[in-house]
Symmetry: C2
Subunit: 335 residues, 2 copies
Amino acid sequence: MLSEFSLIDRFFARRASAPSLRHPDEAARPLGIGDDCALIAPPVGHQLAISTDMLVEGRHFFADVDPYALGHKALAVNLSDLAAMGAAPHAFTLALALPRADEAWLDAFSNGLLDLARRFDCALVGGDTTSGPLNICITVFGDVPGGAALRRDGAQAGDDLYVSGTLGDARAELGAIRGEWSAPDGACWRRALEYPEPRVELGQALRGIAHAALDISDGLAGDLMHIFKRSNMRALVDADAVPVSDALRTLPDAARRQCALAGGDDYELCFTAPVSARAALADIARRVDVPLTRIGTIEPIVSTDTPGAPGITWRDANGAPLSLTLQGFDHFHAD
Amino acid sequence: MLSEFSLIDRFFARRASAPSLRHPDEAARPLGIGDDCALIAPPVGHQLAISTDMLVEGRHFFADVDPYALGHKALAVNLSDLAAMGAAPHAFTLALALPRADEAWLDAFSNGLLDLARRFDCALVGGDTTSGPLNICITVFGDVPGGAALRRDGAQAGDDLYVSGTLGDARAELGAIRGEWSAPDGACWRRALEYPEPRVELGQALRGIAHAALDISDGLAGDLMHIFKRSNMRALVDADAVPVSDALRTLPDAARRQCALAGGDDYELCFTAPVSARAALADIARRVDVPLTRIGTIEPIVSTDTPGAPGITWRDANGAPLSLTLQGFDHFHAD
């Protein structure tokens, strides 16, 4: 049986790339796995963007998930947080609780994790391994020039509201697994659930253009509220403009809207930008090869007709008001 | 029942102190809880020391542990890693899987955690909360001047080998709980197990003096091997010089040595320093009020009489060779 140290060495440490040398002072070289701490430094004038996510079996993934896909997703959801800040991936730590040291599982999991890490030049610099119910906790570090991060509190009245890619496919796959509906031929739902693509290049391209941004992990409706509360704004959103895949269009209206507007696990970016940025955003969409769709407008909170303070007014494609009952994702309530 | 967001807000976000302003550029101010990422930057010329530790119920603590003590210990073990690098605590993230949102438990846990964080001016800057088997994953960030970190690979032949405080009390308490032996009156064992004191001030004082350092979390014998392997050295260690509490002295020799030399959960610092530093170290011990004890000498690996490469030669108080069978802590084998 593998010991804790040989497990770390074999599947992670020996295969991890070292953090790149960014510091002008040679004495202050970065340090990866193998000491009490890793040592890194952002370039002078930059900040380190930090995010942490914990994935639990039965809650964020099924026990029989492909471990390669799980390795990919565990890092992807963290890279998505960096993307939402406009930060460039730099390094990450991995803490792992495993019920047993299963070599085939670890081989596939570490491949999925490290393949994605290599794509984004994100070095594994440290971690912890223990026995226990399966739990994956990744903390990721990115670089962003000082003051250039895309925050949630910068939305301004009159801004356009955008989302990248399409929403709802991951939730649709979950519904298919649960028997709520069937996936049509050729549906991309499973790939959306298992292999979310963090919008890393897009996030960095939005620096200096977007006023506020976040990634959609708990469903558009709920996540938008984070922007509105932090920015003290509200929005008029065209529910039918929210971009969905052809496969999602096969679902009845109510199911489609539940998936697209409150589905969770999408990892697309949602952001606000001034009307003057429309041409620049069209260029960015082409350059990074990610569709960007305008879905609404940011409005100031006017006390007379918006008694509910920060919030969303939904409209359909014809501009008619929609009354939607959507349930966002909350880890302490049933989905 | 508390939702995920009100739980974070009530017990953690609202009570967390903001990260301090360290960056000269006002635009690049630090950002704490509430966005996709936290933003921090070490002072120019400094590095960020990063460590992550995962604590699992039934493995690192008992299900009925006092939640205040658990909050303390979860952060203390991470601060101990910073201390071992000579880094000053700056910030941390907390990822928490909870079987249920138990308000009394969360109140006590967050108090234990945040009381220790305040003592060391270490700001909670982000995290994640989910339902699942109880799991606490903390990632901690410290500042260290570029090139000044205490690493494991710097031990030199002729160095003295030191440990701080006393070793073995946490393991002795575990033995008492398991019925292996009884705690004598007034034993400090329980406090050692539940409230380890990270040697933060000592670690920073050792910068520029110690050649190599680490913290003792898995037992002296096993942890020392990390220094020897990374430094390509070995050591002659006086097993009876290893400092122990009066309460530990009441145990029979074999039990006492097992606790002190391979016990785990000690969180004292172990370091090497040149003979010329003895007076400076005596001054430091007085200043930070932590006993420092010389327990051995670092030796080069000489192929003729040290066939085992990096390793430890144990002696007793009379200089006679000791043959010890010690079991270090490995999370994938029984303790």
